[in-house]
Symmetry: C2
Subunit: 398 residues, 2 copies
Amino acid sequence: MSEDSAKIAVIGLGNAGLPLAAIVADSGIKVMGVDINEERCRMINQGENPIPEEVGLEELIKLHGGKRLVATPRFEDASGCKTFIVIVPVFVDAGNNPDFSIMQKALHSLGKILKKGDLVVLETTFPPGTTEGMAASRLCEASGLLPSDFFLAYSPERIMTGYSLSRLREFPKVIGGRDDESGIVAYQVYKNFISNLHLVSSARVAEMIKVMEGCYRDVNIALANELFKICQDLGVDFFEAREKANHQFCHIHLPSTGVGGHCIPVYPWFLIKEMDKRENFSNCRLLRTSREVNDEMIRYWAGRILSECMKIKKPLFSIKICIKGITFRAGVKEFYHSRNLALARLLMEKGLDAYVSDPLLSEHDVQKWGLRHIDPLTADLLFDPFLLKFEYPQKTKD
Amino acid sequence: MSEDSAKIAVIGLGNAGLPLAAIVADSGIKVMGVDINEERCRMINQGENPIPEEVGLEELIKLHGGKRLVATPRFEDASGCKTFIVIVPVFVDAGNNPDFSIMQKALHSLGKILKKGDLVVLETTFPPGTTEGMAASRLCEASGLLPSDFFLAYSPERIMTGYSLSRLREFPKVIGGRDDESGIVAYQVYKNFISNLHLVSSARVAEMIKVMEGCYRDVNIALANELFKICQDLGVDFFEAREKANHQFCHIHLPSTGVGGHCIPVYPWFLIKEMDKRENFSNCRLLRTSREVNDEMIRYWAGRILSECMKIKKPLFSIKICIKGITFRAGVKEFYHSRNLALARLLMEKGLDAYVSDPLLSEHDVQKWGLRHIDPLTADLLFDPFLLKFEYPQKTKD
């Protein structure tokens, strides 16, 4: 291995992996990025940024792409690296159990090039115990190495799409080893590119930290949704009450149509399913209830939409209803567990004359989801699922 | 009414009322305090502070007691006042329904001396709608006045025992009227002694603000308790994980034996029971689950205590177990809905050799609660319900 070759490999150049790879490169370290998406690799190597919404990433990819940061679809190209950071997705399946298939494939391929003395750091959020359990076994199996032959640690990504670079540069980041030595080795490597880094006592603790944060968010969004519904019933303006209720000891969140995306609606299941396996069902009553409250918000909003329809001077089934956005979050073209998409589908399934208008989507994009596009100005009732506001563009309201 | 007579009456000189009365007096306004407790009135008038744990109150009572702040058990003595602040307790009964009996009695007596143009401000926490509903009716009934004859507003106390004066001086306080004019009149009066004051659109919104804060606390304590139990099962140190999980957007609370006192375990019921009345049961699933999770924590801790007993070299029923504190909070001699008291009782009911040692209580005090006092050093197992820690003073542990 020449002085010139890459020292750190980042496996997975998605929304979480690429910003991290760019930060590592920007710290002066040569990075080999591995991703199965060949087109993405080509773009990066030409200095083109594949995630335009990520503030500051364009400059870094332009500066380092194809130079200090090289992307490749082949694991063999990273065989000279000493540190491997794995940041590929883990989803939940239809039964809400973690789906490790992509992660297991990546660990298998990584095992094939893993050498004695190498360091592996996992960044993907998954159930506590996964690093020292499943991940360690897979790496040993594929590499033929003993657990003590390589260092293994966990450091959860804490990014937020759009703000990943500032998060990596400023936000506290934790790292914990499968064993004490792994923790120290991983901490020393990460310290080169993460300034606000905190070593915790184990990989398991680091895994729990990330999942706990997600649970805090999910439960508090469920609480906001519940208080919002109660305020509506009591004739109280939730937003006015929330503004004045919140202070340094009170952090009531914002209500919504539920919680979507790859993170918050997924993480509570990691704990719920783990407790189910141990038959400690009662340990997760609040987490489970919060998931249900959030997922059922689309029924609440469907009910509110029907109430609004009663104010419109047309028969129910000829009222043109438009949902203004079906992505899971405003401004992000992602649909995973999108409750807004689910709401639009629920209205269609009920036989209502429901349409979609989404500034991020073409008419064709909308049709791909089995929905119908409409010019929002021609709708009788417009529901904005991000602002939770109703409008009546056709002035057919009483 | 002479220039010299009191201008503001404070009805109820309890832990919330007396600090407020002292703050009003300290702003230069003459205050008539009304409380049924004659001994308390006597003390105050002699400049003696009946709430020693309240920081700074002693100086104020010494300075103003019997002078600018006069206490009386008779409502008639306050008949010359123009503003009446009502701050008497509302509890919940055995079925968790609000028990307004003390409040209704106070409002009836107040009604008898209420005059045209007077201002009444309620400070007690109760269900949204109570000021404009029950309170307004009671005052009209007893006074013979029309609703429009007097001003009526609501401004929830936001104190915390021990820190009430600094809370009143610095913390944001909200106020809202039954109608717009009442809101403005009440705001102008309160502005004379509360500097961080915020007028909100109605009494109902102000009522909801206070209840929402309590719900946030109860739900987040339930979440902390649930995450604590999960961490225990997964072999993760909850306190380490919590410290690193918390940041500007994450506020995981501390675990406990549950939630006691007059406030947090009571306020969620105000909303739950109100929604029950409207048959909107599903609107309060999370609030209800949180109450249950918190109340059931004593069963969890009883189980943990039994697990610890298994490590002690003695038959189960001859192991001396000592609960180190039965008040609902450390350092506050209050027992309302105390989960620590409930835990000690649960252990006794199960036939275990359970005792109590509480630095705030004499042997006699402990016996009054049907429990047995012990010198903690003679116990085999000591459980501190505030620190959630076990000790083995008799060294009988394996």
